[in-house]
Amino acid sequence: MIKVLFFGPVADTIGQRSIDIEYRIDMSLQDLRESLAQRFPQAFGIVAFTAVNGVQTRNMRQLLADRSEIAFMAKFSGG
């Protein structure tokens, strides 16, 4: 199982704060993002950053491990 987290404007647009996705062997971050972007096109229009297990990454080719925690995030506006 892959846990996908949403926060702030992304969570509001999707209407959920997390979704569980069935883990598949050789699943890349890109694969996950594309399938979710098809389901939630509006929310993914504002996604600017991706984190894998709490660490930001720009490498969308990386393969996901089972039980990973993935966050698709809008631009930060704290402070």
Partner: protein, 141 residues
């Protein structure tokens, strides 16, 4: 003893935070601090309150790394970073950063660097509640 890096719903006291920093070393000659608070007006709209959401685990981890980087880069004695979550009203405190050093230049530069990095790196989002509706803030640039 409260942690040097926190996200919390409740307000904070600057005197307490600074007193804690000062007890760390009698060599402290300078404490710089930055307080961000909720304005009643933003992008031409009245704002009655602001709601904050965060990816709390990642935010805390990022703030902890930032603090260590700032201490090393600016030869600080200590640094605190506190950010509130949940709902804050106009005029309320939002974020507090304090840096201590032997001399003023390090403390001031470290403080400025930390608030700039916080805005850039820490996964927190604010929604402004206005008479025209609620708007997630989209940062410029």
């Amino acid at each position: 003893m409260r942690a040097s890096v926190r996200i919390q719903h409740e307000d904070f006291s600057q005197d307490e935070e600074i007193a804690r920093l000062k007890t760390r070393s009698q060599r402290t000659g300078a404490v710089a601090s930055f307080l961000g608070c909720a304005r009643d007006f933003s992008e031409g709209r009245a704002v009655s309150e602001i709601n904050f959401d965060a990816y709390a685990d990642m935010a805390l981890a990022e703030m902890t790394v930032m603090r260590e980087q700032a201490i090393a880069m600016f030869t600080l004695i200590d640094a605190s970073i506190v950010h509130r979550l949940g709902t804050v009203k106009s005029g309320d405190n939002i974020v507090f950063i304090a840096t201590s050093a032997e001399h003023r230049a390090e403390a001031l530069e470290g403080c400025q660097w930390l608030i700039d990095e916080l805005k850039r790196r820490v996964p927190i989002w604010k929604k402004e509640i206005t008479p025209d509706g609620d708007f997630w803030v989209v940062p410029h640039a």
